[in-house]
Amino acid sequence: MTDAAQMEPAAGGDEARRRIRQLEVEQGAPSARAAQAERELRAAKAEIEVKDEYASSLESELEETLGFLRDKTAYIESLPSVRLKVWVKGMLHQSN
């Protein structure tokens, strides 16, 4: 049975168009190759967009983490015990 013979005569217009399109794709017709190139281009652009968004999300996450660390460091340095330790270390350094 040829490919064309597989097209059922009773198939509606949309169905017939779909099957013709199938044949074009299967046989590598220029229009099918162009459509594939468009598909690949769309996917490549989508990938760039996703990766850009991912990079931005990582940057904000990093900024958030650094901000958190800065706050924590400031808090730790403000603790009396830590300040005392720093003062003692300074005094010892001076006496040496």
Binding site: M1, D3, Q6, D14, R18, R19, R21, Q22, V25, E26, Q27, G28, A32, R33, Q36, R39, E40, R42, A43, A44, A46, E47, V50, E53, Y54, S57, L58
Partner: protein
């Protein structure tokens, strides 16, 4: 590129049938090893004269693709770029000749009658647009028995993590969505919604979106427990990129479907068994729910009672049968000839763990039937709103008249109206 021009986009194997009923679509990204196992399982499932398998080499290198190029039993489609899950499957869908499209992941294997079971269910009702599998992990534990969705777009696989051999969720039911692994879609439904939405590139949420679109177009999305598929890859991937994609695509999904999602329930703080039960019930259209407890002392009347259950389920009630003996009932058969099959077909949830059934808060039965010769010694069943579930005694020895009377009583106690009056049930059907 080969000598004499570009490599063909499509290579149709000589053993592929020209007019298949089903087109199975598989995407392969890199290593084809797992895909070969998948193809073997499909071949073992038979129906080779009715099935074409379309493999999209979705950005594969030429060397990795070679092993697929040697096969005569597949339609190999080449895309030099990874088109993503939606794009790759849409390409496969364009080439597919079957009346049904079956999407399978390359890291999965289907059981021998998986496709037959999916087809049998898809062909039962023209309103069915998609049928999904019972997805198992490599160790046999349950990975998905349909999936639930909440208004914030959060999705959860029903039954995930239940041990191998569990019979939970062994009934056919309408669901919010089913994953696109072992998902059969009718050609008409696929065309109506235009395939997968490629904006979810590269992956995640395109199956949730597809099912949402199908339901919006009036198609049913159904889970079929007898169609089983093993998903071999671990589900525990929690890489940063994976999480990013999940969140990103969930946000896109919510933006697209905010009106429809508003009709779903709010996600509870903790998704426990009760939350899943509520979600399942909502996805089934919130029919009246009836619990029938059969204890071991009514063995002589069991067939009679099962007939009553089947008849009530057939007129639209969501039936749960809790019977300690249910675990000993014969399981499904490929020809769907067992009672388990008949119950699954009409959506009856058959449970052996009576205590667990009664303990699941929020199930909110409309009524309970105690089909037992002993006195009810359990505490009252209380609904979430604090009201008590009415309990009706059903004595098998009372015969048809007794069943009619009990059914009328049930109908009177139910807080919802079933799709058609259960009193109209031909009591001939109630004889098991």
């Amino acid at each position: 590129m080969k000598d004499g021009g570009p490599a063909p986009l499509v290579q149709r194997g000589s053993d592929v049938p020209g007019s298949p009923l089903v087109s199975t679509c598989i995407l392969v990204l890199s290593d084809p090893t797992l895909a070969l196992g998948c193809l073997d399982s499909l071949a073992a499932a038979g129906r080779s004269d009715e099935t074409e398998t379309i493999v999209v080499a979705n950005g594969m290198s030429e060397s990795a693709r070679r092993v697929l190029e040697e096969r005569n039993d597949i339609v190999l489609v080449r895309s030099d770029t990874n088109l993503g899950f939606a794009g790759g499957n849409n390409l496969a869908g364009e080439i597919a000749r079957g009346r049904y499209l079956l999407f399978v992941n390359d890291d999965s294997t289907v059981t021998a009658d998986c496709m037959t079971q999916l087809l049998a269910t898809a062909e039962r009702d023209q309103g069915i647009g998609a049928v999904g599998c019972r997805i198992l992990s490599a160790d046999g534990s349950l990975q998905e028995a349909g999936s639930a969705l909440w208004s914030d777009g959060w999705a959860e696989h029903v039954g995930v993590g239940l041990p191998a051999g569990t019979r939970r969720y062994s009934f056919v039911r309408d669901v919010d969505y089913v994953s696109a692994n072992g998902l059969m879609v009718t050609r008409s439904a696929w065309s109506a919604v235009g395939g997968f939405d490629e904006r979810y590139f590269p992956a995640y949420y395109e199956d949730v979106d597809l099912c949402m679109a199908l339901r919006k177009h009036g198609f049913r999305v159904v889970y079929e427990p007898r169609a089983r598929l093993y998903h071999l890859e671990s589900q525990s991937t929690t890489s940063r990129y994976h999480n990013f994609l999940m969140t990103r695509n969930r946000n896109r999904f919510v933006d697209k479907w905010k009106v429809e999602l508003a009709a779903l329930g709010d996600r509870p703080e903790r998704i426990d068994a009760s939350a899943i039960e509520r979600s399942i019930h909502r996805a089934r259209g919130s029919p009246p729910r009836l619990l029938m407890v059969m204890d071991g002392e009514v063995n002589g009347a069991r067939a009679f009672l099962w007939g009553a259950v089947e008849a009530l389920a057939a007129v639209g009630w969501a039936m749960t049968v809790a019977s300690p003996a249910a675990g000993d009932e014969p399981d499904f058969r490929p020809d769907r000839s067992t009672r388990a099959d008949r119950m699954a077909d009409v959506g009856v949830d058959v449970r052996a763990d009576v205590d667990e059934v009664l303990a699941t808060a929020g199930t909110d039965w409309d009524a309970a039937v105690m089909a037992t010769t002993t006195r009810w010694r359990r505490p009252p069943i209380i609904r979430a709103d604090g009201t008590e579930v009415p309990i009706v005694r059903l004595s098998p020895e009372e015969g048809d008249a007794g069943v009619r009377s009990a059914v009328s009583t049930i109908a009177g106690t139910a807080r919802h109206t079933p799709p058609s009056s259960p009193t109209a049930v031909n009591t001939g059907n109630l004889r098991g």
